[in-house]
């Protein structure tokens, strides 16, 4: 298996298929950890993670925080208010000041696309992108793919439809990169005004017909409609959106029997999805949340050890015992 050498995780565009597979594989062993009675391993004891969030976020920040804590990291949360940006400290200054505290990993969420990229060039610490503008949200896509794989056993050859505001969605972009690299057939579906120019060059099928997107799909990933942002201009109303694009039981009648329904959350019930679907048997929305911790543990573990070229954590079978034994040693 390929060795992880990247100090940062900036986006899935920049990863190879093998590297993505390595994250999912690594997440598998951490998934097991999260189901133990004592959900903690000393894998990153002594390391410090800073969650540097320029946008409000509850679930992603909590997920990263738990992931770090379960690896025995120290965690600091910094919520940068828009007002303190106005006071004049630049992103790079903030990053360097944080780094001067001798921390190891900066997890950054930012409203400007490319902000993690710019930060990563300015600091020696690892930078993990927790969502930047409309650009990428790599850990979300990784946890989506992890969930898909655990549900359907594979990614290769699956038909996955991403439905919603593709134009302004970092979740969509990361999913497209990741899924296409792993050999899935991806369809994006949105009202024409929310399909960005050149999207077909990602190697995806593009449609504005919701029924077409559902028909034949093994999974659908339904995006949050951010009507408070730019999408508002592009569509008349929430009700109108629900009528035309909302995922309902009725719409899913024509779907494949084993269809998997995903959503990155938080859900707008009655806008992009009905409650019946969100809470129904096809929905894996809460599993996504649970898997998010294992995937983020894997990401933190890999980037933290990138420069040290440590051996990987336990594979799902076989050698696992040995590694676990080592972990137990550390615990004592």
């Amino acid at each position: 298996m390929v060795k992880w050498v990247k100090k940062d995780l900036l986006g899935l565009e920049y990863l190879s298929r093998e590297e993505i597979e390595l994250v999912l594989y690594t997440a598998d062993s951490f998934k097991e950890v999260t189901t133990r009675q004592i959900k903690k391993v000393p894998a990153l004891r002594g390391k410090t993670v800073v969650n540097l969030f320029y946008e409000p976020s509850t679930r992603t920040r909590t997920s990263f925080e738990l992931a770090a804590k379960r690896l025995s990291c120290d965690v600091i949360n910094i919520a940068v208010e828009a007002s303190s940006v106005a006071k004049g400290e630049t992103l790079i200054d903030t990053g360097r000041n944080v780094e001067a505290l001798n921390i190891d990993i900066i997890v950054v969420r930012h409203s400007s696309s490319g902000a993690p990229y710019i930060l990563s060039r300015a600091v020696k610490a690892s930078v993990v992108n927790a969502g930047d503008g409309w650009h990428e949200h790599p850990t979300q896509a990784l946890l989506d793919m992890y969930t898909l794989k655990s549900k359907l056993g594979r990614i290769e050859g699956l038909s996955v439809s991403i439905i919603g505001d593709i134009a302004h969605s970092r979740v969509a972009r990361s999913n497209i990169w990741g899924l296409t690299k792993l050999g899935a057939k991806v369809t994006v579906c949105a009202p024409p005004t929310l399909i960005p120019i050149g999207i077909e060059k990602f190697g995806v099928r593009v449609t504005s017909d919701i029924d077409e997107a559902i028909r034949g799909a093994d999974a659908i990933n339904v995006l949050r409609m951010q009507f408070e942002r730019d999408s508002m201009q592009a569509f008349p109303s929430r009700i109108e959106y629900f009528k035309q694009y909302g995922i309902t039981e009725e719409r899913l009648e024509k779907a494949k029997p084993g269809l998997v329904v995903m959503h990155p959350g938080p859900i707008n019930r009655g806008v992009e999805m009905s409650s019946e679907v969100a809470d129904g048997p096809r929905s894996v929305i809460l599993e996504q949340v649970t898997n998010g911790i294992a995937v983020r543990m894997a990401v933190l573990y890999l980037v933290a050890n990138a420069k040290e070229h440590l051996t990987l954590p336990s594979p799902p079978s076989g050698e696992r015992k040995k590694v676990r034994g080592k972990e137990t040693q550390f615990e004592q």
């Binding site: 565009e13 630049t90 992103l91 790079i92 930012h110 400007s112 696309s113 490319g114 902000a115 990229y117 710019i118 930047d132 503008g133 409309w134 650009h135 990428e136 970092r170 972009r173 960005p196 120019i197 050149g198 999207i199 060059k201 990602f202």
Partner: protein, 450 residues
């Protein structure tokens, strides 16, 4: 002849003087600030001899689109540092855009102010461009007549378009009455909005707001139409896309008094260069596609684009070293304009040296109506001597401009400026350390993938 007058004899060079239809081995004798004679085998006659064997001798370059930032933002550039950078690039005359902060050049007093600073500090000739509207706000006309009387060579709201069509129409009429050129920065804000990069796959991939090409070419079309109606002289600044070239080509075919310029980054870089979120690839208009680069080169070759101008836009590091969508637009260009043009256009046979000198000297001088860009007897002795095949590396440490915002640092360029005369006085164009001649790569159009 006064014995104290400076006299220089430039011998053995290839003199390229497109305004006088000269391209051949001629000597040129400078006396004081003027050209005394041009001819073969001139006697040195107590003049200091400059041997230009193997080199090109040409009228000093004229950069008709430069931001000097003074008075107001001397932290980014001053008239002194900006014109020093110009000399390094073989440029002996610059036209300074009026978008100063906090006060634009929109009155006779401001024109005089810039001219006074230039008189005291400039190393090269500075020609002032005034604003079209008061403080470039696009609401009411600036004092075009007063500015012209105090020496403004053109008017422009560069950095923005006059969005209001009726106001622009009035400006063109006023400009015609006062025989002054109008320079249009074409950007329909209703189309470009908050965009920061060319609209298309790259913008989509990077998650950045796009600027459609139509924001530029719709206003090229509109402004040409208005110039036709009013009879005013119109110059289109920094043409970046194919459609604009086509519209200008058609206008020229119907014999309208339209001229146009492009900047070196529009024929050496594409939107692909933005993929690392390097804010030195953020400019307005934005970098476009390979097809646009090809169209710009074609338009330069066939004369649809008359001039190459740098759009030298100095910005401090703290205005650039930030998030892409928040960073300032623009790059510096005075020191690299010739080197990029020589490497990309002559190297790829788009233009010959004579064509290049025309687009960088005689054409812009003619468009601005300034007595520069030619080396006939009695002309002002603004001269550049270029070692045409000499390759050199643009090094960050050698930059004369106060700002360093260039995507070309580390590039190997061509055509080294060895001597510059401004009003008959020699200026050393090289930095004290000289320029690097070691490793470096000319990347050229669209080859800046990482």
């Amino acid at each position: 002849m006064n014995s104290s007058t400076n006299r220089y004899l430039i011998k053995n060079g290839r003199l390229i003087d497109p305004a006088n239809k000269i391209d051949g081995e001629f000597d040129i004798l400078i006396a004081g600030s003027k050209v005394e004679s041009v001819g073969k085998g001139l006697k040195n006659n107590n003049a200091e001899v400059v041997d230009a064997k193997g080199k090109i001798v040409a009228p000093g370059l004229v950069d008709m689109h430069v931001h000097l930032r003074e008075p107001g933002r001397e932290d980014k550039e001053t008239i002194e540092t900006g014109t020093l950078a110009a000399i390094r690039g073989g440029i002996t005359s610059v036209a300074a855009m009026p978008n100063l902060e906090p006060q634009a050049v929109d009155s006779a007093g401001m024109v005089k102010r810039v001219n006074d600073i230039a008189k005291a500090k400039a190393r090269a000739n500075v020609f002032v461009i005034g604003a079209i509207t008061r403080n470039r706000e696009g609401k009411e006309l600036a004092d075009i007549k007063g500015m012209k009387r105090h020496g403004a060579v053109a008017v422009s709201d560069d950095g923005a378009s006059v969005q209001d069509e009726r106001l622009l129409s009035a400006a063109l009429k006023e400009a015609k009455k006062n025989s002054i050129l109008v320079i249009s920065h074409c950007d329909d804000r209703r189309i470009s909005g908050q965009g920061v990069i060319n609209e298309g796959f790259i913008a989509t991939k990077l998650g950045l707001r796009g600027i459609p090409k139509s924001a530029e070419y719709e206003f090229v079309r509109r402004d040409i139409e208005l110039a036709k109606k009013t009879g005013a002289s119109l110059h289109i600044a920094h043409v970046s896309c194919k459609e604009s070239c086509d519209i200008i080509r058609a206008a020229k075919r119907s014999h309208l008094a339209i001229t146009a310029e492009t900047a070196p980054h529009y024929f050496t870089l594409t939107e692909e260069c933005c993929v690392t979120y390097d804010t030195n690839t953020k400019m307005n208009p934005p970098l476009r596609t390979k097809d646009d680069v090809a169209a710009i080169k074609k338009a330069l070759a066939d004369g649809v684009i008359d001039a190459i101008a740098s759009d030298h836009a100095p910005h401090s590091l703290h205005d650039k070293d930030i998030e892409f969508d928040k960073a300032a637009f623009g790059i510096i260009g005075l020191e690299t304009s010739l080197g990029l043009a020589a490497a990309e256009l002559i190297g790829n046979k788009t233009l010959g040296w004579a064509g290049l000198i025309a687009r960088m000297s005689s054409n812009p001088a003619k468009i601005l109506g300034i007595k520069r860009g030619g080396l006939g007897k009695g002309a002002t002795a603004d001269i550049v001597i270029i070692d045409p095949d000499k390759e050199w590396i643009y090094e960050g440490a050698s930059i004369a401009s106060k700002s360093k915002n260039s995507p070309f640092i580390g590039w190997k360029l061509k055509g080294r400026v060895t001597e510059v005369f401004v009003n008959g006085t020699p200026h050393p164009p090289l930095s004290p350390k000289g320029r690097g001649e070691g490793e470096g790569k000319f990347l050229g159009a669209s080859l800046c993938h990482t």
